[in-house]
């Protein structure tokens, strides 16, 4: 859906990236100033790189080698900016209608009422943008972009200016969008939590280069990237589905690694879910642990051991068809005599469920 090649020499930095993805949602993840925004601006049309071949949803928007340059207003990319950018001289309704008139010819992604309903905008339709909360404004911006009938959505740090609690006013809607519209999206973020919740593919960008790209689960389970993610964020993502809600308040989720138990969640039985297993929350035992209060004890074998920092390593374990990463100190590595191929037990101290997913 996206094939983006950009090369540009800035005064002090250079950008040289080639990002490809056929997934529904591609995330560009990396620290601020890594080049994500330049890439988005080139795609959007507000920045002209020295060299670029940009394709989105099958359409070439910019090709400097063939002098193809689709003007910004004909690119049909719905851009969601960090600062929403709702037109202050129009009501919410006016903002949405404004976009609708440009998208009128092609009713691909739902009519006005559907979009209003999808994003829960009914209540604020007659308000001015200045009176909206950050979450509401961002939802209006998303609705406005969709009504212009874009070929793709570009979400440029849409959650960066919004505190954690308010994010819950947006992320569930973005997930709904992903489920209900066949609209490819690029999510730019420097927050891994957002990426894990929304993306299918991820491209890690740092200092103007692509560090790694691929399916989210593969990239996050790559032990060599623990330096990139840092000790608190390194961790695999595994897929599963809800099996049962037990009467004692525990929800059981089947994964290829085994049953995962977590505090009761709302998700319906049978729904697909994504679980994030942080490497710092995984303990390793050579013997089957007995008498532990931890609910999630899985069995696996060591695939690789990768140094991570001065004191420890990242152990990559295969459990069923999933990979799980665990941080282990050098001392424990010695004490347990862990080596590639060794079978061991994993004790997962906590699991965080992301959101219901559609696979």
């Amino acid at each position: 859906m996206f094939d983006l090649r950009v090369r540009h020499q800035f005064n002090a930095a250079s950008l040289d990236v080639h990002v490809r993805s056929d997934a529904r949602v591609l995330a560009l993840f990396g620290p601020s100033g890594a080049g994500k925004t330049s890439l988005i601006k080139a795609l959007e049309g507000s920045f002209a790189p020295e060299f670029a071949v940009l394709k989105a949803a099958g359409k070439t928007l910019l090709d400097t080698t063939q002098s193809i340059r689709v003007p910004t207003h004909r690119r049909r990319l719905g851009v969601i900016y960090q600062d929403a950018r709702l037109f202050p001289h129009m009501t919410v309704d006016g903002n949405l209608r404004y976009a609708e008139q440009f998208g009128r010819a092609k009713k691909l992604n739902g009519a006005f009422e559907e979009v209003v309903d999808l994003l829960g905008l009914e209540r604020v339709l007659h308000q001015r943008p200045a009176t909206l909360s950050g979450g509401e404004a961002q939802r209006v911006a998303i609705g406005r972009a969709i009504l212009s009938q874009p070929r793709a959505l570009l979400l440029d740090e849409p959650l960066a200016g919004i505190d954690q609690a308010r994010r819950e006013e947006i992320i569930p809607y973005l997930l709904r969008l992903k489920r209900e519209l066949s609209l490819p999206m690029i999510l730019v973020s420097h927050d891994l939590n957002d990426v894990v919740r929304l993306a299918d593919d991820v491209a890690l960008i740092d200092e103007g280069r692509v560090v790694k790209q691929g399916a989210l689960a593969d990239v996050l389970a790559n032990p060599e990237l623990s330096q990139f993610f840092g000790p608190s964020q390194t961790g695999a993502v595994i897929n599963g589905h809800v099996v049962a809600h037990h009467p004692d308040g525990i929800t059981e989720i089947a994964t290829s690694a085994g049953s995962a138990m977590l505090a009761q969640i709302e998700t319906k039985v049978g729904a697909d879910v994504r679980i994030r297993v942080l490497a710092k929350d995984v303990m390793i035992s050579r013997e089957k642990p007995i008498g532990l209060s931890a609910l999630n004890i899985w069995h696996g074998s060591i695939v690789s051991i990768t140094p991570a920092g001065a004191r420890g390593v990242v152990v990559d374990l295969k459990c069923g068809s999933d990979h799980i990463l665990a941080f282990v100190t050098n001392r424990s590595l010695q004490a347990l005599a862990l080596e590639v191929g060794a079978a061991c037990w994993l004790v997962v101290k906590s699991l965080s469920l992301t959101d219901p997913q559609i696979s």
């Binding site: 959007e44 910004t72 851009v79 950018r85 202050p88 001289h89 404004y98 001015r128 972009a145 212009s148």
Partner: protein, 229 residues
């Protein structure tokens, strides 16, 4: 008292209002266009255009008036061409309009430029991403957002046109009923014995017009703010 008011006073007032209104209405769209070019478009000769636009602000008005006479007078380069088309500026009220428009123009451009500089270009980018072409974007987003600046420019230009003296009297002289606006009438009546009562009338009307213009702009500004502009 009323009986003493010379018909020339009302002539001058009426002419001044006519000249200032027509000058403002004609110059404003051009000022918006020029301000947009100067702030949003990079082109060769931008510096030159800036100089030409702002020149009347710094030149002695008499010089501007004389330049207009040279160019738009009956024997001027442009004047003689336009005369063939039936358009005459020299010693007509239309000439007063031209002088007033040119003198007010830099003030209009400056006010609109300031509004354009202050307005967030992000809204224009957002409109473009939704599918708005440059011209649609200008008419539906930029122009409404800078409306208070355009209004301020119009008020400044109108006030300047009402008060314009040097360039007007140099270019079109001071012919009662033709080109004698309030300032040139005041000047005329100061030159003749017992002219003071008429001068006082004209001064009073000038002050009144200025107050009304300011009040109107304030009210319009409030209305715009109330409607989110």
């Amino acid at each position: 008292m009323m009986a003493e008011v010379s018909p020339q006073v009302w002539q001058a007032v009426w002419l001044s209002l006519k000249v200032a209104s027509v000058a403002t209405v004609c110059a404003l769209p051009v000022a918006v266009l020029v301000a947009y070019l100067l702030t949003r478009v990079v082109f060769w000769g931008r510096g030159l255009l800036t100089v030409v636009v702002y020149l009347p602000l710094v030149l002695p008005p008499v010089v501007t008036g004389y330049a207009l006479l040279l160019m738009f007078g009956s024997n001027g380069y442009v004047g003689s061409l336009l005369a063939d088309l039936g358009i005459v500026f020299a010693f007509r009220w239309t000439g007063a309009v031209l002088a007033a428009a040119i003198m007010g123009f830099p003030l209009m451009v400056r006010a609109i430029q300031q509004a354009l500089d202050a307005s967030d270009k992000g809204f224009e980018a957002a409109a473009a991403s939704l599918g708005a072409s440059k011209i649609i974007c200008f008419l539906t987003i930029t122009l409404p957002l800078i409306a208070p600046g355009v209004l301020a420019g119009a008020i400044l230009g109108f006030a300047k046109a009402l008060g314009e003296f040097g360039a007007t009297i140099t270019f079109v002289a001071s012919i009662p009923g033709q080109t004698q606006t309030i300032p040139s009438a005041i000047y005329n009546f100061l030159q003749i014995p017992n002219g003071e009562p008429v001068v006082m009338w004209l001064v009073g009307i000038s002050v009144l017009l200025s107050v009304v213009a300011l009040a109107a702009s304030e009210l319009l500004g409030r209305w715009m703010r109330k409607h989110g502009l």
